[in-house]
Subunit: 236 residues, 2 copies
Amino acid sequence: MILDICPSPTLYPYYKKENDTVIVVDVFRASATMCAMLHNGATAVIPVANIEEARAYKQAGYLVGAERKTRKCDFADFGNSPFDYTREIVAGKEVVFTTTNGTKAIEMGRESKHLYIGTFPNIDALADKCMESSERIVVICAGWNNRVNLEDTLFGGAFAERLAGKTDLTIGSDAVRIALSLWQQAKSNPLDYLQQSEHWQRLIDNHAVGDAAYCLQENTVTVVPCYHKEEKKLRV
Amino acid sequence: MILDICPSPTLYPYYKKENDTVIVVDVFRASATMCAMLHNGATAVIPVANIEEARAYKQAGYLVGAERKTRKCDFADFGNSPFDYTREIVAGKEVVFTTTNGTKAIEMGRESKHLYIGTFPNIDALADKCMESSERIVVICAGWNNRVNLEDTLFGGAFAERLAGKTDLTIGSDAVRIALSLWQQAKSNPLDYLQQSEHWQRLIDNHAVGDAAYCLQENTVTVVPCYHKEEKKLRV
C-alpha cells in the first residue's frame, strides 16, 4: 500500500493519481465535527462550499452547521464544535455543513475512488477501512486558506505510522517524511505540541479551545464518513 | 522581522504580501550552483524558464547550464552540478541557466521587493543581507514539480533559526514551525537526515550524490545572488 500526503488542497493536482482513495483531514475541527454528527445518528452530512447555498438549505428547513474563520455563522443552527451536534438534535436527520477549509478539500478529492473523512477520533476505524480495498491513499490536509498547517500535517504523520503498523507501507513522497518527522516530535503529547500552532490562538480567541482536546483524542468514534458522489453526501 | 516559508512555488499567492523580500531555495542543487557561478566570477546568471529559450541563448553564443530531471540537457555546456562552473570557464561571463524547479520559484517571486537566492553555502551572508532592509521575508521552496520536498523545507528551518539568532523574529505561519521541527531533528547531521529524501535517490541514480555534501555545507561562499527585475538577471 502506498501512502501520500498532500499538504494543501491547492496542491492536490500534483499529488493525484488514478484510483486514489482520498482522506480529507481538518483536525481543528471539521473532521471531528462531521464524525460527531454521524456518530450521534445523523443520516448524512451534506457538505456545501458557500454560505449562500447553506442559507438556502436553512430556508428549506434543513439543520445547518456553518462556520467561517472559527465562528458560527449567524443564520446557522450550529458552528464547528463537535459538542454542538448532540444525539437529541441530529439523530435521524441530514445536516448541511460548510466550513472555512474542510469543504475545499472535499471538492478537490470528490472524483477519487473513495473519499473518507479522517482525524484522530476515528483514526483506527479509518485505517481499517483503508485496509479493505485501497492501493494508494492520499491524505489531503485542509490547511488554512490554502496554506499548510501544523495539525493536519501532524495527523498525516500519525496516520502513516498507524498504517505502517498494519501493512507493508510505501511512502509516497517527502510530504509523508515531513509529517512523520513532526509526529515523532509530537506524539508523546500532541495537545501540548499544537499549542504553538496558528489555529490554537484562533481557538482561544473564539472560546473554542475546549474542543481541541476532543479533536486530538484517538478512537472515540468508529464511524468513517464516506462521500457518495451520486448524491453528494457523506454517510457512514 | 517576520519570516514565512512557502513550501511550494504554487502556494506563493497564499503567502504573498506587499513589500516581501523573497528567498528562493533549491537545495539540490540549483541554489548552490548559482552561488558557485557568481562566486567563481560570472558577471550574471540569466535564469530562463524553458529549454527552447536556453537553446536560443546557446545558439547566440552564451554559456548555458540546463538541467531537467537531475540530468544535463544535451545541448548545454553544463548541468546542475556546482562543480561544473569553474572559475576558468565562467569568470567574466554571463551564464544562462534553467533547471527543473528553481526557475518556477524565481518566476513566482520576481515581482517582490527583493529576490535573493539562498541555501546552506551562503546562509550567513544571506541572513546578513536580509538584516539590511527586510521587514518580511518569505522563503519560497522550489520543491519538486510543485510538490513539497524535505531539503528545501529543512533549509527554511535552518534559516529561521539563523535569523532568530540575529534579531527578534516573528514566525509568519505554521510552515515555519514545521520547518523548525524538521531542522531540530536534522541539524546534528543534515546529510544523514536527507538520505531518506526523494531527491537523494535521484542524485544516486544520476551519479550526482557527490554534490550533496557541497550543497549542505554552510558558508563556503559569501555571495548572495540578487534578482534585478529590469534586466531579468541575477547579480551579486
